[in-house]
């Protein structure tokens, strides 16, 4: 979707706050939200559906609310959509428990060692062998699609309708546009390199390059 999240190349967002200290969390609530996001996922959820739910946040909230706040809002939306809770529950501000526990037994507390093991298990792979041969090979010229669509997609606006070159073939990866609809379909995915000058008029003569990882259906032969 042509949403507020698609920020590459947009102008006017001001200087970068480079002097931030390197602690992972700057407020307790940020840390709590991090832990919640790791611990509570609705059945059947995909990373692409979660990303799409974040993209669907109203633009003013997306830009104004702090980062982990937007995670909390994304989580809320996935939990409500999946029927784990309702907007009415939220209006009660969690003060009153509307529903009984969904599990007969309370969830066990995981230890540090157990979550570290879970983190190792979260090295999820998204590739698979498919019958189709890759349509493109390294060195081949390609042109990206000119248009997106209303759903989740991973071809940013700034790289649409542009000429690039296949840098590498990654094999077939889960196609995000369908994964965001709960459908697992694998499609060849490529590292595609663009000259900065192809993307930006002001970069004429620049030696710089931009690399994107793009799926086959975003590309045609150039």
């Amino acid at each position: 979707m042509d949403g507020i999240h698609d920020l590459g190349g947009k102008q006017g967002y001001g200087p970068i706050e480079v002097d931030e200290d390197e602690t992972p969390f700057h407020h307790d609530w940020e840390a709590r939200e991090w832990g919640i996001a790791q611990s509570a996922r609705t059945p059947g959820i995909t990373i692409d559906w979660w990303r799409h739910c974040r993209e669907l946040i109203m633009p003013q909230d997306y830009l104004e609310r702090p980062y982990f706040d937007s995670w909390a809002q994304t989580d809320f939306s996935t939990y409500i959509e999946a029927g784990w809770m309702t907007l009415q529950d939220l209006e009660k501000n969690g003060a009153e428990s509307a529903g009984a526990n969904m599990d007969d037994d309370p969830l066990p507390a995981l230890s540090l060692e157990q979550v570290l093991q879970e983190d190792r298990e979260h090295a999820f792979r998204f590739d698979a062998d498919i019958d189709a041969e890759p349509a493109f090979a390294p060195g081949q010229a390609v042109i990206t699609a000119s248009h997106g669509h209303a759903g989740h997609t991973r071809l940013p606006q700034y790289a649409r309708g542009r000429h690039g070159t296949i840098h590498a073939c990654h094999g077939a990866h889960v196609f995000p546009d369908l994964s965001a609809q709960g459908k697992e379909v694998h499609q060849h995915c490529y590292s595609v390199v663009f000259s900065a000058a192809e993307l930006w008029a002001e970069a004429a003569g620049s030696p710089d390059k931009v690399y994107l990882d793009l799926w086959e259906s975003y590309l045609v032969a150039g």
């Binding site: 832990g35 230890s111 590739d127």
Partner: protein, 212 residues
Amino acid sequence: MATRFDAAQVAHIHQQLHSHLPSESALRVKALETLLVDRGLVNPQTIDAWIEAYTEVIGPKRGAQIVARAWTDPDYHQRLLQDAPAAIDELGFLGKATAHLKVVENTAAVHNLVVCTLCSCYPFSILGVAPAWYKAAAYRSRAVRDPRGVLAEFGVDIDSKVEVRVWDSTAELRYLVLPQRPPGTEGMNAEELAKLVTRNSMIGTDRDLGKE
């Protein structure tokens, strides 16, 4: 009680959340945790453990160890460039968001910079929680368009002859920048070298290490 992938409903939910959430971030997250705990969907001690994991164990020190090992062990350097997930697994660092890791190497002629313009993709299990600037609109919007200007804001001046390669993490691949080993460190071991490796150098917003 499973995900239904109903985007129209989620758009409606966000409209409601715009006005119906508590007024402060801390209160919103508190409400979320309370609702989950009341329903038995999360154990608060598990949240504690995840926070501890990403505060005490998992963070950029892991990335620095990978870099220092690559600097001191040519075979490991080769394995890291060829198959980064397997190479970081040797150190026990394979995990969240690193199964499709790629390592991109800085040289005298090339500087690499990593961004995620569409969301905030980051190699969690080797660099920990991403810095706030990495997730903010200012960096995400400009890194692909004005990388040299971005680098200058971080105090990094890139010679006009050096090629800047920006890696926009649009798929499940994640990128780790392998910075150059600083000159004059020939006598240092991997442990000492790891201390010279900054988090930003592994994202690409730092370049010349070991300089004050």
